[in-house]
């Protein structure tokens, strides 16, 4: 009986969260036109979420690409078609690994920063203070952060993919001696422009989801130290799950 009550309670909690996010999104979208009038705030957030995530994104991309090169080479060698490493690496990175790993890293690096910053603003009554001064915190604080992240995420995705391909190339061509010309020409022959478009679209969608979750969790955090911590944790968990679920759906649609 207690279990049943807990389950229904959880279900209502979940429905409440979904509804809360939707209403929050509505309010956020309503403020975006006016937030666009102050581009300097957005630029500062592109810097916070994008430029400051660049180092971790680039480092991880290099290693993800290198691992892909290593495993791809080892597997393709069994079929004697190690020249196809370019194809495997590029398609894997462009369509799947690039957007997904970028989104997961982004949630960990920038999403948590957004959530804890907003949560702390809530906990220290800064948001309330703004409301007292007739400044809508949605417009002044939340919308620029959301928009900045929305701009940064697709850019981070394409940077990840480019560096990742460089990593594949580093291991495959420089280390294992796959022929450089066939590496690039096979890649070019098999990667279409709409594969790149798929990667960029995924980057935009994941960016939308991750930023929305981050600002929502931060904005609605309980104004305590524990509440901010919980908001940060929830941001990472929900962003990661949502990213992978959305990834499956987009892949199914665009296949």
């Amino acid at each position: 009986m207690k279990l049943l009550r807990e389950l229904t309670g959880n279900a209502f909690d979940f429905a409440g969260t979904v509804g809360g996010v939707t209403l929050f999104l509505g309010r956020l979208l309503g403020q975006i036109p006016r937030a666009l009038l102050r581009p300097s705030l957005i630029v500062a957030q592109v810097h916070n979420t994008g430029a400051l995530s660049l180092v971790i994104i680039m480092t991880c991309a290099l290693f993800v690409g290198a691992v892909l090169g290593l495993l791809g080479y080892d597997t393709l060698l069994r079929f004697g078609s190690e020249d196809a490493l370019g194809t495997v690496g590029a398609l894997g990175l462009v369509k799947e690994l690039g957007p997904v790993v970028t989104a997961l890293l982004y949630a960990g690096r920038a999403g948590t920063a957004l959530a804890s910053e907003l949560g702390l603003m809530r906990a220290t009554d800064q948001l309330t203070a703004m409301e007292m001064m007739a400044v809508d915190p949605m417009r002044r604080v939340v919308a620029p952060r959301f928009l900045g992240g929305l701009i940064a995420m697709p850019l981070l995705t394409v940077i990840f993919i480019a560096i990742g391909i460089f990593g594949v190339q580093l291991v495959g061509v420089q280390n294992f001696g796959v022929d450089s010309a066939s590496f690039w020409s096979q890649m070019r022959a098999s990667v279409e422009l709409n594969d790149v478009a798929e990667g960029v679209i995924k980057g935009c969608v994941f960016g939308f989801a991750c930023n929305l979750i981050a600002v929502y969790e931060g904005y609605t955090a309980h104004p305590t130290a524990e509440g901010v911590g919980r908001a940060t944790t929830r941001t990472v968990v929900i962003s990661a799950v949502l990213t992978l679920m959305l990834d499956y759906m987009i892949t199914a649609v665009m296949l």
């Binding site: 300097s40 630029v43 500062a44 592109v46 810097h47 994008g50 430029a51 660049l54 078609s81 196809a84 590029a90 462009v94 701009i151 940064a152 697709p154 850019l155 981070l156 394409v158 940077i159 993919i161 480019a162 560096i163 391909i165 690039w184 890649m187 070019r188 022959a189 098999s190 990667v191 279409e192 422009l193 594969d195 790149v196 990667g199 960029v200």
Partner: protein
Amino acid sequence: MQATRTVEISTGLFVLLGFAALFFMVTQITNRDLTVDGASYDVTAQFENIGSLKPGAAVSMAGVTVGRVDSITFDQNVYKAVVKMRIASNFNRIPNDSDAAIMTSGLLGGQYIGITAGGSEEFLKNGDRIELVQDALVLENLINQLVASFMGRRDENNSGGNSGGESGEGAQTKTEEAKQ
């Protein structure tokens, strides 16, 4: 003020880096750059079956790419596929009795058109049609032909004893033979 300037510069660099990466992806890893740049001329060829040949595929002579497939259309009058090829102008001495064949590069590779030079003294020019063609090899047809010739041969072998032996009977005799 200095701090905002630094933020702006690093943000600008980040955005530029992003666009550079996008540019790299669009130009370097997709097959956008496969068009023939500079001066070129067009020739056509009609095929019964083009297999999976696609616009942008290479046109090569002796393994060297001399042009690209520009467009593929279907001619309803002769029921053939018309392949328009764009060949770079510096390859302007291809005999006009050369033949064009649709070939496959490697086991997993895409299809391309291979041109083998003929013996004519006159060369292909803009708007010409290559008369001698060889269609794409369709694996299913090949297997069908192989199976058909196999069946035919087996029927021949069996029809020595009993006249008009069907393939089913033939198979039965074969298994009995194998048992003994």
